[in-house]
Subunit: 734 residues, 2 copies
C-alpha cells in the first residue's frame, strides 16, 4: 500500500509542472498591448534577466567554492557523505530554476495584465493570478520532483545491509537534507541580492521622484522607474520563489529525517518508511488541492475590490479545509500507527499559519486601528512616524510568537501521545506542523506572486499613459496584491520558525551519523550512562554533549546566534542605504543635467539606473551571505556541538521575532502612507503625507530586504550546521 | 582572618556615604548665581521632586500589592522563605533612596555648575563631577550597607543546625537575593517612568521648538524646556541611580549565592564562607579605589576639552588598574584556594567592560567614521538617516556580543580550573567577572551622573542668558558628559548580561531550596540516575528538569523571552510616542494662543508641560513594568522550571543584543546631529541638519527609554523567577 502511495508524490509534482506549463502558454497567447507597453515590458524583462544572469554568475562561483570544500571534506577526510557535493548542487540548481521560471513568467505577464485591464478588471485578475500560479506550481512541482528523484536514487544506491536495518532510511533522509543547503544558499543570495536591488531602486525612485521632484510613482519621467519595476521582479518574484522553494523542501526533508529517526532501532522497517513518506504525501495531496483552489478563483464581471479579495481568499480557504480532510484520509490509508495525532499536528500547523496571517493583517492593514494611528502620528512629523512604527512592529511580535509557541507545544505534545518524554515523536510532530502549514503552498504562493505582477502591470499602465480608468483597475489589482503579500510574509516567517526547529532536530541526527563515521559505537553521557549509539534518542545526545542551559558553550552560541540576526539585518540595511544613496545621486544628476526630463521632452537614462542597482546589489550581497555560511562553521570549530545548537536556537528565536518586527513595521508604514493618500489627515501632498512617505521609505528595506532575508538566514545556518556536522563532531577548540 | 576582612565591607560602605555627605555639603556652599538662575533651578527642582513624589506613590502601591502576595505565598502556603516580603521592601527602599539622593544633589548642583562656569571651566567641572560622585558613592555605599546589614541579621537569625552544615550560607545568600528583586522592581519603574518622562519632554521640545519654530535648544521661549531639564534629572539621574544600584547589588548577591552553592555539601565551612564574602570584599576594595580615583580627577586652569576628558579617564583608569592589583592582594589575603583563577576572572570582567565601552565610543562618537557616515546620509534626507542609523546600531552589536561571549567562556573556564565539567566553580567565575566589571562603579557612575548635571547647567546658562563665553564652557562640559554617558551605557548593558547569567544560576539554587521545602530529598533525572538533593550540582538539576534544547518547554520559553524583549521595547517606544504627541500639541497650542511667547514678551506656561510629562509617564509606565513581573510567573505556571529557564535565557540573549542596538543607534544619531551642527555637510539649519534632527529625535527613546529599560527587564525577570521559584516548583500546567 505504502509503496503505491509513494508514487503519488512524483505524480503530483509532474501534474503541477504540466499545469504550470499550460498556464504559462495560456498567458503567452494574450496580447501584450500597444507598442509602448511592449517596449516598456521588454525594458523591464531585459533588466531583470540581465540581473539574474549576473547574479547566477556570482552564485555559481560561490557554489563552485563550496562544492570543492565539501568534496575535500568528503573524499579527502571522510568527514562527510560522498553524495553531499552533488546533492548540494541540485538543490541550488532547482531553487534557482524556480525563481527564474517564476520571474520569466512574471515579466511576460505584467504588460498582458495591464492590457487585459483595458477590457475588464476580471480579465486582469485572471491573467495576473494564473501567472502567479505558474510560480506556485513550479516551486511545489520542482520541489517534490527533486525529493522523489533523490529518494529513488539513494534508495537504489545505498546497500540494504548497512549497520542495522533502520539505519538506511536515516542515511537517505539526512543525505537528502544537504540538497536543502544548496537550495538555502541559492535562496539567500536571491533574497539578499534581490532585496537590495529592489529597495535601492524603490528608495532612490521615491526619495528624488516623489519627495523632491513631486512626480507620482511609476512616472516615466523618473529615471529609476524601470529599475524599480525590475526590482519587483528580481526581489519579490525570483527571491521569494527561491525562498519558498527552500522552506517547502526543507520542511518536508527535515520531517522525513525526523520520521526515520523516530523509528531508529526498530525492526518494523515498514513503519519507519511510512513515517518518512507521510510528509511527502501530505505535500503531494496539498498540490492537488491547491490546483482545485486555483481553478476555484473566478469572479463576476464588474466585481468590486472586496469581491476580488473574497474570491482569492475562497481559493486558499477551500484548499486549507480540503487538506485537513484529505490528511486524515491519506494518513489513515497509509495506516500510520498514530495517524489521528499526526493529522492533528497538520491542523495545528495550518492554524498557526492562519493566526500569523491574520495578526499580520491586523497590524499592517489600514482597515484597522494600529496603522490608522500610525498615520495620525504623522501629524507631529516624520520622527514620531518612525517611533510609532517601530513601537507598532515590536508590539506586533506578541501574537505570532504566542501562536508559534502554542504550535510547538501542542504539535509536540499531541504527536508524542501526550507524553513529553517521547521526544522523537514530538519533534516529528513539529515537523509535520511545518509541512501542514506549507502544504497548500501552491495556491498561497500563487496569491503571493500575483502581487508584484499586478504592481508591474500598474507601472506599465502608468508609463504607457493608458488613462485613468485602466490605471484605476490596475490600482485595485495592486492594492489586493499588497494585502495578500503581507499575509504571505507572515506565513513565510512562521513556516521558517517551525522548519528551523525541525532542522535543528535533524542536526542531532547528523551528529549520530558523524560519530558513527568516526567509529564511535556508544555514548557516555556526562553523568556516566552508556548507550548504544544506534538506539540513542535525542535527549541522550543532549546529555552526551551537555547541551543544557548551564553550559557556557551553549550560552555563548546563543548570544552569537542572537547577534547574527541583528548583524545580518544591519548589513543588509546598510547595503540598501548605500545602494539607494548611489541611486539618489544618479537620479538627481539626470534631473540636473538632462534638462528635458521633467517636462517630458527627453527620455531619462533608465539603463544607467538599472546598472547601478545591479552593481550595488551584486557587490553588497556577498558579505552578509558568506557570513551566514561561515558563522555556524566557525562556531562549531570554537565551541563544538553545544555551541552550534546554541547558535541555531539563539538565531532562531531572535531572528524569528526580529523578522516579524521588521516585516510588520514595514508593512504598516507602507499602508499608513496609503491611508493618508486615501485622503485622511490631509491627504496627498500634506505635511502628514510627507512624514508618512519617510516612514514608507524606511519601511521598504525593513519589509522587503532585511525581514525576509532573516527567514533564510535562520534556515541556512541550520542547513550549514547539518552539512558541516561531520567536521564539528571531529574537532573543536573548547 | 576572613572574619576580620568581612568588616571591610560595612566600613567601606560607611566611608563612601560619609564622603558623599561631604561632597554634597561642599557643593551646597557654592553660590547658585543670579536670581534668574536660582528661579530656573528651583523650577526644575520642584518639577523633579513632585514627579518623584508621584512616582513613589504608584510604586508604593505596587510594592504593597507584591508584599501582600509574597506574604500569602510565604505564610499561607509555605511556598517561600518568610524573610522574603521584608527583604523585598528594603531593596526597593534603598534603590529608591539612591535615586532620590542622587537627583536631589543633581538639581542643586546644576545652577552652581553654571555659576562656577562663569569663573572658569575647571571650577565648573569640579562641581559637576563631585556632585556626580555623590550619586556614585551613595549607590555603592547604600548597596554594600544593605548587603552587610542583611548578612549579619540572617546569620544571627537562622539556626546553625539546619539540614547540613553548608546549607546555612546557601539559605542566607539566596534569601538576600530577594532584596535584589525589590531593587529591580523599583529600578524598572524609575527607568521606564523616568525614561518616558524625559523623552516625551525632549522629543516634544525638539519637534516644535527646534524644527517648527526654529529656536535653539533650551531657549526660555520654549514651554517644554523646563520639563526637558526636569526629565534629565528624573530619567538620567534618578533612573540610572536606581538601575545601577540594582546591578551592583544583584551581581554581588548572585555571586555570593553561587559561592555558597559551589561549596555545598562541603565540610570546610570556612572555604564556603570565603567564597561568599569574596565578591563583597572586591566591591569594598573597589569603593576605596574609586575614592582615590575621584580625588585624582583635577585639571589645570584653562584646560581644553581633550585635557578634561583625559583627566576624567585618568581617574577611572587609575581605579581600574589599582583594583586589579588589589584583587590579587585581597584574595590572596583571604586565602581562597583558587585565588589566582578568581582574580583572573575579575580582570576579564574589567576588560569586557572596557571593550564594550570602547566599541560604544567608536560607533557613537563623531570622531569616528560610522557616525560621520551617518551624518553624510542626511544628504539624501531623513529616511536614509533612519535606515543608516538602524543599520549602524545593528552592526554595532557584534563587538560587545563577542566580548561578552569571550568573557563568559574565559571566566568560566579559568575559574573552573580549565575544566568545563566543574560547573559550579565556572558559574561563580562568571559572577565574579560581573562583580569585577562593577567594582569601580563608584567612579564610573560619578562620570555618568556628571553628564545630566552638565547638561542642566547648560540649560540654566542658556535660559538665564549668561552670555556666549559661559555657554561655550557649559557646552564643553556637556559634550564631555555625552561621551562619558555613552561609555557608561555600554558598561551598564554589559554588566546586566553577566549579572543576568549569574542570577540565572542562582535561580537553579532556588529550585533546590524550593524542592527541599516541598520535602524532596533526592533527584531522579530523566535517564534514571538518583542523586541526593543536597549534593546535586547545577547539571543534575538541568537533567532532572530536562533543561536541554530539545525540550519544547525550554524552546517555548526562549521564544517568549525573545518576544518579551521586543514587546517591552515596543510598549515603551509607543508610550514615548504618545506622551510626546501630547507635549507637541501643548507646545503648539501655547505658541498659537499665547502670542507674546516667541517675541519673548510673555513667559510660556512651563508648569503645564511639566504636568503633561508627569501624567504621561505615570500612566504609561505601569503596564510594561507589570508585564515584566507577570511574564516569568505566568511562564512558570504554564511551562514549569524548563520554561522559566528558557524564558530567562531567551530574554537575556535577545534583550542584550537589542539593548546594545538601541543604545548605539540612539547615541550615533545624537552625535551625527552634533557633527552636522559643528559645521559639516551644511551645518545648522541646512537640509542635512533637518534630516539629522529627525534621526536624533527617533534616537532619544531608543537610547534613553527603551534601551536602558531592557537592562532592568533582563535582571527583573530573573529576580522575579528567583523569588517565585517556590510556586513554579510546586505546580505547572505542562
Amino acid at each position: 500500500m505504502e509503496n503505491i502511495l509513494f508514487w503519488l508524490v512524483p505524480s503530483a509534482s509532474i501534474l503541477a509542472l504540466l499545469l504550470a506549463w499550460y498556464f504559462y502558454h495560456q498567458m503567452m497567447k494574450e496580447s501584450e498591448g500597444t507598442a509602448t507597453m511592449q517596449t516598456i515590458a521588454s525594458h523591464v524583462r531585459k533588466g531583470a534577466m540581465s540581473y539574474l544572469k549576473q547574479q547566477y554568475k556570482i552564485v555559481g562561483l560561490v557554489f563552485l567554492g563550496l562544492v570543492a570544500f565539501f568534496s575535500i571534506l568528503a573524499y579527502g577526510f571522510n568527514l562527510q557523505n560522498s553524495w553531499v557535493p552533488i546533492a548540494f548542487l541540485t538543490g541550488g540548481f532547482f531553487s534557482g530554476l524556480s525563481g527564474f521560471l517564476g520571474m520569466k513568467t512574471a515579466t511576460y505577464a505584467s504588460a498582458r495584465t495591464a492590457n487585459a485591464a483595458r477590457t475588464s478588471l476580471n480579465k486582469g485578475l485572471r491573467i495576473a493570478f494564473r501567472s502567479g500560479a505558474v510560480m506556485g506550481l513550479v516551486v511545489v512541482g520542482l520541489g517534490l520532483l527533486d525529493i522523489s528523484f533523490w529518494y529513488l536514487i539513494l534508495n537504489a544506491a545505498i546497500p540494504d545491509d548497512i549497520l542495522n536495518p533502520s539505519a538506511k532510511l536515516c542515511i537517505i533522509t539526512t543525505t537528502m537534507l544537504t540538497f536543502g543547503m544548496g537550495a538555502s544558499t541559492q535562496a539567500l543570495f536571491a533574497r539578499v541580492g534581490g532585496g537590495i536591488y529592489t529597495k535601492a531602486a524603490d528608495v532612490g525612485a521615491d526619495l528624488v521622484g516623489k519627495v523632491e521632484a513631486g512626480i507620482p510613482e511609476d512616472d516615466p519621467r523618473n529615471p529609476a522607474t524601470i529599475a524599480d519595476n525590475v526590482g519587483d521582479n528580481v526581489g519579490d518574484v525570483a527571491g521569494m520563489g527561491a525562498d519558498l522553494y527552500e522552506s517547502y523542501c526543507g520542511s518536508i526533508l527535515a520531517t522525513a529525517a525526523l520520521g526515520a529517526a523516530a523509528y531508529i532501532g526498530t525492526d518494523d522497517i515498514t513503519l519507519q518508511f511510512k513515517a518518512v513518506i507521510a510528509p511527502m504525501l501530505i505535500a503531494a495531496v496539498g498540490i492537488l488541492l491547491s490546483i482545485i483552489g486555483i481553478f476555484s478563483v473566478r469572479t463576476k464581471e464588474n466585481a468590486g475590490i472586496k469581491e476580488l479579495l473574497r474570491s482569492l481568499s475562497f481559493g486558499t480557504n477551500l484548499s486549507s479545509i480540503l487538506i485537513i480532510l484529505a490528511t486524515f484520509g491519506i494518513l489513515w490509508a497509509l495506516q500510520l500507527d498514530n495517524w489521528i495525532n499526526i493529522s492533528c499536528a497538520v491542523i495545528i500547523g495550518l492554524l498557526v499559519g492562519v493566526i500569523i496571517g491574520r495578526s499580520t493583517e491586523y497590524y499592517t492593514s489600514q482597515s484597522y486601528k494600529p496603522t490608522q494611528k500610525l498615520s495620525k502620528s504623522g501629524e507631529t512629523g516624520p520622527a514620531t512616524v518612525i517611533i510609532s512604527g517601530i513601537g507598532l512592529g515590536m508590539v506586533s511580535t506578541t501574537i505570532p510568537v504566542l501562536a508559534v509557541v502554542a504550535g510547538i507545544i501542542l504539535s509536540f505534545w499531541i504527536a508524542a501521545g501526550f507524553d513529553f518524554t517521547n521526544v522523537s515523536m514530538g519533534l516529528y510532530g513539529i515537523g509535520i506542523a511545518a509541512v501542514g502549514m506549507l502544504s497548500t503552498l501552491g495556491i498561497t504562493l500563487a496569491t503571493d506572486a500575483y502581487g508584484p505582477i499586478a504592481d508591474n502591470a500598474g507601472g506599465n499602465a502608468e508609463m504607457s499613459g493608458l488613462g485613468e480608468e485602466v490605471r484605476k483597475r490596475t490600482d485595485a489589482l495592486d492594492s489586493l496584491g499588497n494585502t495578500t503579500a503581507a499575509t504571505g510574509k507572515g506565513f513565510a516567517i512562521g513556516s521558517a520558525a517551525l522548519t528551523g526547529l525541525a532542522l535543528l532536530a535533524s542536526y542531532v541526527e547528523e551528529i549520530r551519523i558523524g560519530l558513527t563515521r568516526m567509529g564511535e559505537t556508544v555514548l557516555t553521557t556526562s553523568n556516566g550512562t552508556i548507550i548504544d549509539i544506534h538506539n540513542a534518542g535525542f535527549t541522550d545526545f543532549m546529555y552526551y554533549y551537555d547541551v543544557t542551559l548551564m553550559n557556557p558553550k551553549v550560552l555563548s552560541g546563543m548570544f552569537i546566534g542572537a547577534m547574527m540576526a541583528f548583524l545580518f539585518c544591519g548589513l543588509t540595511m546598510n547595503a540598501v542605504g548605500r545602494a539607494a544613496g548611489h541611486m539618489v545621486d544618479e537620479v538627481r544628476r539626470q534631473f540636473r543635467e538632462i534638462k528635458g526630463i521633467l517636462t517630458g521632452q527627453q527620455e531619462p537614462d533608465y539603463a544607467r539606473c538599472v546598472a547601478i542597482s545591479t552593481k550595488g546589489a551584486q557587490k553588497e550581497m556577498v558579505f552578509p551571505s558568506l557570513l551566514a555560511i561561515i558563522a555556524p562553521i566557525f562556531t562549531g570549530l570554537v565551541f563544538g556541538v553545544p555551541g552550534v545548537i546554541g547558535l541555531l536556537i539563539g538565531g532562531l528565536s531572535s531572528g524569528f521575532v526580529l523578522a516579524i518586527f521588521m516585516a510588520n513595521a514595514g508593512g504598516a508604514w507602507d499602508n499608513a502612507k496609503k491611508y493618508v493618500e486615501e485622503g485622511n489627515f490631509g491627504g496627498k501632498g500634506s505635511e502628514v503625507h510627507h512624514a508618512a512617505v519617510v516612514g514608507d521609505t524606511v519601511g521598504d528595506p525593513f519589509k522587503d530586504t532585511a525581514g525576509p532575508s532573516l527567514n533564510i538566514l535562520i534556515k541556512l545556518m541550520s542547513m550549514v550546521a547539518i552539512v558541516m556536522a561531520g567536521l564539528t563532531v571531529a574537532w573543536s577548540i573548547f
